[in-house]
Amino acid sequence: MKKTTFLYCSLFAGLLLGAGACKKSFLTVSPEGTTLEDNYYQTPAEAFAGLVAAYNPLSWTVVSSYAPKMVLLSLASDECYAGGGSSSDNPGMQAWNTYTLQAATPNVPPDLWNRNFTGIARVNTMLAKIGEVPGLTSDLKSRYTAEMQFLRAYYYFDLVREFGNVPLITKELSQAEWFTQVQAKPADIYAQIEKDLNAAIPNLPATVNIATEGGRVTKGAAQALLGKAIIYENNNSRMQEAASDLEQVNTSPVYSLLPNYADIFDPGNKFNAESIFEIVHTNQAGKTWGNWPNFDGNVGVQMVGPRGYNGPTFESSAAGYGFCPVTLDLVNALKGDPRYAATIVNIDSLAKAGACKYTPGYENTGYFIRKFAPLAAFQSTVGNIELNWRNDEIEIRLADTYLLEAEALVRGGGNQTRAQQLLDAVRARVGLASVPATLDNIYNERRLELATEGHRWFDLVRTGQAATVLASKGFQTNKNEVLPIPLQELNNTKLVQNPGYN
């Protein structure tokens, strides 16, 4: 008995001690679906996944709140009001509409800031990794690099136009550099944009296979963006340069104006001949509210739909959120224009005619955006309808570059005949007669041709018209040309607030 007791107890004690043996490995667990950064970017497929991630912020329409760029820029301009459910529905949008933005205004400034800097950081990460990806061909390496350079230029172009004074970051930041960045002069940002685009242009393909690569950056997109950026630099002595960059796009056989204006915005007609750079949205991801805020659809489409709508044509089962009611200014400007029906829909008159019902929202005018309207024909059959609109946002299209080139030619004293031809081409496409290619006519044409596509606010600001056109909304000169630097960016950093926002 004593002997067996001893034996068993010894065995048992051994077990106890043994329990402590397998320590380190026991505490090292697998990251389950995430990969340690040190082990990533090791195959061409992983490099491609990194490239996709750099494109990803383009399609953000919801960041910390509902802040699709297209919607925001429309309501900031004289095209639309904020609208929504009430005066407090999405305070950031209401504040931009009334020009009461402050550093602490939630959502809108931080979201625009965040989208673009996230894209820049992903580009910088990829540019740091791409040289050492085993097995990546040099062709792919140079194409990926060019795409990254374009995207960085694109993101910075947005930032410099929206915030003016932003830090210039062209490499991955180390921990020591997180809080030490300072703002660069806008001119330096533009210089970087030009540098990136000039580096990218030779290595980008002229065309891509629409079915498999539609939306990826092309040579034309980079040339167009370069020309556009130079125009935004507002230096008349460089207008000729901008015009020649744009001319290369405008004369390229790749692009042509669509005969039917409304077709440009048809989600069934993506990557059409008029589209130069297009932000792609899909319903394939079938996103639900549980994926918030990572939706791949265009939530902006949902936001501009009429509230409580019940009737034909428009998406009816999830209804819209009633943002961006179109101002009577724009309605009147487009009255009689052949582009009216493709641009604006008068839901109020439909409702009065008994063709539909809807709930007027805040600042309702009865007029709604048509180019991005939530149409029943395009509503998603997977995921939540409101989150899976597949309407793309065409950032740069041929009519835009036509008018930009015309503007550059006029401002730079270039070929006025060509300027007139470009303006005429845009008008002729919708059956309008020629008007003289003056700057005023070109700007007016931009307003009507590109209405609610996110160009108007930038145009008003860069051409100095904002102070008068937006005065009724509360626009203040020398302040509201740019947004306030988000408060969070000022905490513990070396950034300084934009003038007028302190």
Binding site: A19, L27, T28, V29, P31, G85, N114, I210, R307
Partner: protein, 1164 residues
Amino acid sequence: MRKRTLTGRLLLFALLFLGNSTLMSARSQTNAWFTSYSQASASLMHSYQDQDGQARTISSVLAEARKTFDVDFIYESKVIPAAKVIIDVDKYKSVEDFLDELLKPYNLKYKKVLSKAYVIYSSNPELKRLIASLIKEDGLSAAMQANTTNDSRKTVITGRISDDKGPLEGVSVVIKGTSKGTLTDKDGRFKIEVENGNAVLVFSLIGYQTMEEPIGGRSEVSLVLTSKSQGLNDVVVVGYGTQKKSVVTGAITSVKASELEDQPVNRLEDVLQGRTSGVTIAANSGQPGSSEQVRVRGTTSINGSDPLYVVDGVPLDGGGLDYLNPADIESVEVLKDAASQAIYGARAAAGVILVTTKKGKAGSMRVAYDGYAGTQAPARKLHLLNAQQYATLRNESSLAGNKGVVFANPASLGQGTDWQGQIFDNHASENSSQLSFSGGTEKSTFYSSLGYFDQNGIVADPISWYKRVTARFNGSHKINSWLNFGENIGYSYIRNQGLGNTNSEFGGPLSSAINLDPTTPVVITDQNILNDPNSIYNSEPVVRNAAGLPYAISNYVGQEETNPLAYIATKKGNNYNWSHNIVANGYLGIMPIRGLELKTSIGTKMAFWGSNSFTPIYYLNGSTSNTITNFYRDAENLFIWDWENTASYNRHFGLHNVTFLVGTSAWDNTGGGLNGNFQYMPVSNLGQATPNYSLPNADKVANGYDNVAHTVSSEFGRINYNYDDRYMLEGQLRRDGSSRFGSNNKYGYFPGGSIGWNVMREHFMPQSNVLNALKLRASYGVTGSDNIGDFLFESTVSGGRNYTFGNGYQIGYSPNAPPNPNLKWEQTSQLDVGVEAAILDNIYITFDAYNKKTTGMLLAEQLPLYVGASGQPTGNIADMSNKGLELELRYTKKVGEVQLDFAGNGSLLRNRVTSLGVTPYRTGATLQSAAYELARTAPGQPIGAFYGFKALGIFQTQADVANYVNKAGKMIQPNAKPGDFRWADLNGDGAISASDREFIGDPTPHYTYGFTAKASWRGLDVLVFGQGAGGNMIYQGLRRLDIQTANYSTKALGRWTGPGSTNTYPRLVDGDPNDNFTNPSAFYLEPGAYFRIKTLQIGYTLPKALLRQWTLQKVRVYLTGYNLVTFTHYTGYDPEIGGGKNTSIDMGFYPQARTLQAGLSVGF
């Protein structure tokens, strides 16, 4: 050796002796351990007649000597050798001489312990000490020393002694004023001869209150003994062991099963609420099956403060505790001070709650049934406007906003629809049945039970219900004297349905009932509408009632606020959740040498849960509709395994008592889940839905996840030392390695130490009837929290940063948050000082004061967004402190035939965030369309304090507006109108902006208290259990701010209507230009103090005599009222609002029900 029947009073010694050290085994082991003789009570004595030969056993010699010298002998039977001796008792002059002679050859010693009693023992100093302590016991010595009186009128008294669970064995029955007595047998029966009918019997047993019963001429006396709750001799469960309460040096609150019996306790949390000081509990919802928020000594961390639950030694992660049937709980201990917690190291910072389930007892088989049925109703409803009032106020608001009249003739609308009345059920049923079997032998005991619990909700009960089946199998087995094993297995199956959003402004029946206008009817009966082909009732898939009439859709209130009956109809029978939980452990214990115990225990929690739901096609209003049917099914699982090994060694050296404990532990938690959506299934409800339907792949969407494993590997040790139970010293240390800790800080060390002093055991302290016991104690320790997320210390790359190229949806990968390799656990240190005292024989007081500091709380480091990181790195940044006072009181008294018991407790708590690093504040809860967040966490303030504007009354006239200027003479609110709030311009800049806000209230209660009072008289008993909390504010955000047509509370009838009408409730105006309502302010705050009569119970236990013919042990019937009355100034449904981040924010809180129950307990 022949077994002898023993006399009572000396066995009482034995019981006391055993009771002091091993209470649990006292009753069963008594007879085997001790034999002794007594001179008295010849009728009970089996006198020895074996005097035929000269050689007699020592026992029989002692028996003779007892008579000869008129003394008692106390000894453990096994110490007396079986040898026979020849000795002439009569020749000795003194008993001492006799004992010297008799015992010397056997190396036995003796000691005179009372005037007429001698203890015989082998050389064990421990025995000496214990005997010495026994002599102090009151009453007994008197009984021992008293002389027997002779009386010729002898009668035999019989009876049966039991407690509330069944018969009690080994109860001492002594005739008062004599030393004559006996013990009850295993059926609780006794028989004693008394000399006259006026005698008084004294019944006593360790752990029970001593009772005196005058015979009063009866021949039968049967009694129920009451257990002595929380006496200083109780045993409490501590981490990896048990301790006598008298030598515990930590702050540990204990709730025993006896305090819960027959009470409406449906969840573990209910056990603690109001019964434990220092523990703040608030319901997260009144919905059946809802969990409750448990905070031990305040909010320990910003990152979650759920305590660690250890069930039968198995540490579980928080949540999913409803698998535990409270009827199976033997005791719950809350380790509140850091020294007690430190033995659980890196997971103990938010407190440790030890749950011990019931075990069987050797002896007869016990079967118990307990069941009740109840009916529940809401305790109160909100006062909302009726249709006429609503229309009047809407007109007023619309006109003020320069819009037209909305309702032409409000008076014609009358009462309208009472939406609350539509969704509340005043007769929601509840019932519970428990059946338990327990028993065993010396070698093996078992406890098993089956339980069923079924509760319907009081709100929308077709879609708010909960059913639970539980089973438990506990056993313990002795293989031989040094080897034992056991198992505890708990299983539960739960099925429930919840009504969706509760305490949310985004719809759900409650929010809808509060916000929907009363002018909308429940169903459409108007034939004009029903027959109109253009009506939405004919063009949309609206929901209809049983009679085929469509549920009405409001023309005024939309968004998520829908007709609640239509909402209920879309959910009814269309979804439920299910879960299976198995929590089990098995252990093996070895005692190779005396005092040393090696134990290994393997435990597990296996949880499997999921849900099935079907979303039909419906149209509830313009913004809430569904056009695609969807069948959703998910199946998820969690698997925890835990292996704990301990070695403990206990030794006595004279009055020194030392216990060592060392151990190791390994713990692993993994899990995952899969779910799928099936769209366009050709069915219309859940009953018909099945994945067997063939659907195109595009209509089947699957998702899933695997949890990152969480592993913890630990070593720990503890030393307890006490001298004479007088000076106590304890130290512990645990080393934890956690998979969540950074590579630079993989292991954490968590020390704790405590000291205690039982002052009353000092010789210089006079024996007193006023102060019976006094213990001072102090402890300090450091604990941690590894509740800090996975892989925050290494840079990882994740997918999901996707983009579409052409027709192809591409998956993009990029780095996540920047890593923090220095990441470590959050650390909490705590100092605790306490006093425990027993006064006036039956009042027990415990008082504690503590100071708890949490440092290095994990916070996302607020990186500038320009860094472009996908996620914020986390750092050990913030600090918080909790200070508090706690008092517990217990009182028991028998007055005549009335037994009184009182237990009360109260706690004060002060929480402050002391640092957030460089972050100035963190925003807290928000409300749809509130202009700003409602709460902030900031240094110097309690966590999540309400933050908002300060209203300085209401502008009564336009002149008031014009006169409201800052120092520079600038009008502060130039656009305000009479009837608007005059906001305080706190920064004096002459305008009202975001920077004019301040802290306006604390959502966390500052004090909590509770008491239980019981009185019983013969078979009748009454119990009152009350509980309260206060010192906090509640933010009443019931009304949807973005729906200006939403209904109002009747408080709105007191709105500003003209100069002088009110200075507190602003005017109603569409658009709310002055942000009177959208600005968070004290306008929405109400004091959250409440006191609640939680339980009121009246019970009747049937007399034993009646039961005996049915061979029943116990039958008790009772009536219980639960949540009968709540005293509060709060005007919402329920002032007890938990819910973590939304604590004390009322957005339509599902109230707790008021319940009436009738119950029955039967013991066989």
